[in-house]
Symmetry: C2
Subunit: 322 residues, 2 copies
């Protein structure tokens, strides 16, 4: 069924008309939207709606708002982060230029809003307010992420709040949107939003973990990239908080220093992580968020069988066996 | 009365809450919004509404959406144009950095939308659709403007369409918004929008004219700036279209060439403009748009006395005596 929904979404995406002229403004939008990806956010909207209705057709267009919005953030974030590649292809500012990335991104945010304007009048103000709040929060998360690059003391709660804003709230909104459009109660919509936020936190922590402990063949990014760039992830912040004097020294020898030998840096930092059991600690936190997510899912007032697709998607996202 | 409305708007602007944390995201918004300016767009919304109602209080907040949106475009445009100053003060990307200009601008676009969500449910979808269409058109105008920098053949109709999109449509929308919120008929709202678009075109052409023929003491920008930067304005495009061989040669000696002596360049190009009567030709087109604007204003079904404030503002914008 998830496959059916994905092809439904991909079909609808190909039919979107972002605009034609000037081509320099609209070609980059078609380019980034055509690079693919899991279409996770609109899929969550449909799966969220499917808890409460079998009539998913009216949800497809508003669901795409979350995908267009997500890709808008990718275009602007990649520019701010000077990222050369996105999904293995040149980023918009690399393929065109910085101005194009700024301006095409701006239009994408406008188009994301437009995709929501057809929702029933009774829920339109609520949907727009929640979308706008989420959009501002995602920007706040990106700003915290950039702030953290130069801040010397970032706490673990600050880091978790950053990934909540930057990544998790949009997954929560995507699910809540599906619930609201499918006529769910306010309580059920809120439970579903919390489920999504928790899954989002777990998902991002797993990404942090895979960066260090992932299989280079399947991870899709360079393993150790976060370590090489001194990224203050949950793993590094936890290690710094728990390290003894010798481990502090080992970390300080590499973190914030010019990188002479990237592999040696990754090996040394991972060595400290191993000594401190950072991997099982991270896995434990991921599991905690996952269990918390399932508690929220449990509270939703529909038969358990209807929840299976969402539960399965969450498991799949976290690549757990059960 | 216009003074009263302006202080009403400025008061409401100081009370807007864009957000607090992270300060690096929200301080730049307060900064740019605090630099002042004529608050022309929300003033147009109120004056547009005042044609049809004396109850302007409900129009104030949505009116501010046009001002926040306009300042969003200034933040992103100044970054794209590498402009160091805005209203005599450092631009956001100069005072902070490029990432801040991008991200704070993004949040401003979200906040502009939010200011519209309180309008009556009956007109909400229409207001949002028209605002979004206008927002995309403004981006299209900026893209055409950037395209024209490197295009060798820009026609006068292309130039007029660019300034229509980049500048005029937002003035048209601001007025239309006031009409719609004040309960005007669809026809009257449309006439008012056309009035605003024509005034916007006249306003931009007057700006082009002042760049060359303005009084340095009162213009507020460097006189001749467009000439120095080879900007393809109505004046230059008209001169190039009408120049004889000698005048073509005189222009070609300066336009698109490294600038050795800026004053000499301005004097030479202005010399050609003078020979070709570019100034009176531009004034004639400005007057044409102004007369056209007044025809649209005439069509609106309210007593002429109610139209006086708008007519006077238009005259003031174009600094005409009658």
């Amino acid at each position: 069924m998830q496959t059916d929904l994905s092809s439904l979404l991909n079909q609808a995406l190909t039919e979107l008309d972002y605009g034609q002229q000037p081509a320099a403004l609209y070609d980059p939008i078609r380019y980034i939207m055509g690079l693919g990806g899991k279409r996770l956010r609109p899929l969550l909207t449909l799966l969220g709606g499917q808890l409460f209705t079998d009539e998913l057709a009216p949800l497809v267009k508003p669901a795409l708002a979350t995908e267009v919005f997500h890709n808008f953030t990718l275009v602007h974030d990649d520019l701010m982060d000077h990222a050369p590649l996105r999904r293995g292809q040149p980023t918009v500012h690399e393929k065109w230029n910085a101005s194009t990335a700024i301006l095409s991104g701006d239009v994408m945010l406008v188009r994301a809003y437009e995709l929501l304007f057809d929702v029933p009048a009774a829920v339109l103000p609520q949907v727009l307010r929640r979308f706008s709040q989420t959009a501002a929060e995602v920007c706040e998360g990106q700003q915290w992420d950039m702030n953290f690059e130069t801040e010397t003391t970032v706490t673990i709660p600050q880091y978790l709040d950053m990934i909540r804003l930057k990544t998790a709230v949009l997954l929560g909104f995507a699910l809540e949107l599906g619930a609201v459009l499918a006529g769910a109660s306010a309580d059920d919509a809120e439970y579903l939003r919390q489920f999504g936020t928790d899954i989002g936190l777990a998902f991002q922590l797993r990404d942090d973990l895979l960066d260090v402990y992932g299989d280079a063949a399947t991870f899709g990014k360079r393993v150790g990239g976060d370590i090489i760039s001194d990224k203050k992830t949950f793993l590094l912040l936890t290690a710094q908080a728990q390290a003894d004097a010798a481990q502090q020294a080992a970390l300080a020898q590499h973190i914030g220093q010019p990188v002479a030998d990237a592999e040696a840096k990754v090996a040394a930092v991972r060595g400290v992580y191993d000594e401190l059991n950072i991997r099982p600690q991270t896995e434990a936190l991921i599991n905690q968020y996952f269990e918390d997510a399932l508690l929220h899912l449990d509270r939703i007032g529909v038969p358990a069988a209807r929840k299976e697709p969402l539960r399965r998607l969450a498991l799949q996202l976290l690549e757990r066996e059960s």
